[in-house]
Symmetry: C2
Subunit: 153 residues, 2 copies
DNA sequence: CCAAAACGGTTGCATGATGAAACCGTCCTG
DNA sequence: CAGGACGGTTTCATCATGCAACCGTTTTGG
C-alpha cells in the first residue's frame, strides 16, 4: 500500500506535511539554510543514504521548495538552492527549534543569533491582530461557509 | 533497516522531528487542538488505520506530547489530551498552516480566528530582540565555543 | 435482562519505503 | 591519461504502512 496522501484532507496543515512532512525533508531544508548546496555535502552532513537524498531533493524541487541549478560550467556540477518558498520555511523550522529547546533542552552546539547585533532572536508567538499573545485556547476555527450563510441570512 | 534516528545529530530541529516529524503525528496533534479526544474520533476524522493511530498515540504519550486519561468510570473509555508540551506545538502548526496557505493557497474550509474578536490572527514572523523582522539571511548560527560562522546563504 | 453495538485495541498479510553498499558515466585534476 | 570527485541508479534485506479481520470489555436499546 502506498502511503496515504494528505492533499485530499482539505487542510492546509495536511497539505504542508504532504510536501515537507517526512523524516528528511525539513532537515534537508534546514541544512540548506546553513549554507549547504551540493549533493555530497548534504549527504555527508546529514548522514543520509544517497538514494533517499536523491529522492528528497527531487521532491523538494518538484514542490518548488528548492531549485536545481547547473553551477559547473560543464554540466555535471549542480547546486541545490532554496527558493523563496523554501526560505519561507524559516519560520516553521525556527518554531520547531524553539519548541525543542524549550521542552527537550538545547541539544545544539549552534545558537541562532541576529547576524548584525549578535543577540539571540525572539521567541515566536501567535498573536491576535492587535498583538496580544494567543494560545490554542484563545482561537477557534471558523467555518467560512457558515460565515457566508450568516451574512446572506 | 530501522529508520535512522535523529537524536544523535546534536540538532534541536532533528530532535523535534524525532518526536513529531512523521507523517501522522502532527496531524494527530492538530486534530487534538480542534477538540478531538477519543480514539475512534481521531481514527474517523483523520482516516488513519487503527494500528498506526495506536502506535502514534502511544509514541506521543511516551514523548510527553499527549496524555492518556481514563475518562470512563469503568476502565475502557479513554481520552487522549494534549499536555502543555503538546499545546505548545500550536506555534509550529500555525507556522505550517500559514506557510501552506501562502504558497499552496487556502485548501481549508476553516479559518483560524481570535475567539473573542473573531478577527484572523497575525502572520508569524521571526524577529530580532528589538522586534525587527528577520529572514534566514539576517541570522547566523553562532558556535557557543568557537567562532565558526555559517557560510553565507 | 439480553442482544447488539461501541470502544480500544491486536494480529496477519500484502505492499511500499528505507538504508547500506555496489556500480556507473561524466568531468576535473595531477 | 589515470584516478578521483560528483551525482546519481540499482540491488537487496529489512522496516513501516494500510487494510481487514478478530477480540475482550463496556455501554446501550428494546
Amino acid at each position: 500500500m502506498t502511503r496515504k496522501r494528505f492533499d485530499d484532507l482539505d487542510c492546509s496543515v495536511a497539505c504542508a506535511l504532504d510536501q515537507v512532512g517526512d523524516w528528511w525533508s525539513l532537515l534537508v531544508v534546514k541544512e540548506a539554510m546553513l549554507g549547504t548546496r551540493r549533493f555530497v555535502d548534504f549527504q555527508q552532513r546529514l548522514g543520509i543514504a544517497k538514494n533517499i537524498l536523491c529522492n528528497r531533493l527531487n521532491r523538494l524541487v518538484d514542490s518548488g521548495v528548492m531549485s536545481k541549478v547547473d553551477a559547473g560550467e560543464h554540466g555535471t556540477r549542480y547546486e541545490y538552492r532554496l527558493t523563496d518558498k523554501g526560505r519561507d520555511l524559516f519560520t516553521v523550522i525556527t518554531a520547531l527549534r524553539q519548541w525543542s529547546e524549550r521542552w527537550n533542552g538545547n541539544r545544539d552546539d549552534l545558537r541562532l543569533v541576529d547576524r548584525i547585533s549578535g543577540h539571540p532572536i525572539r521567541q515566536l508567538r501567535v498573536e491576535s491582530d492587535d498583538g496580544q499573545p494567543l494560545t490554542v485556547r484563545d482561537v477557534r476555527f471558523e467555518d467560512a461557509g457558515a460565515e457566508r450563510l450568516a451574512k446572506d441570512a
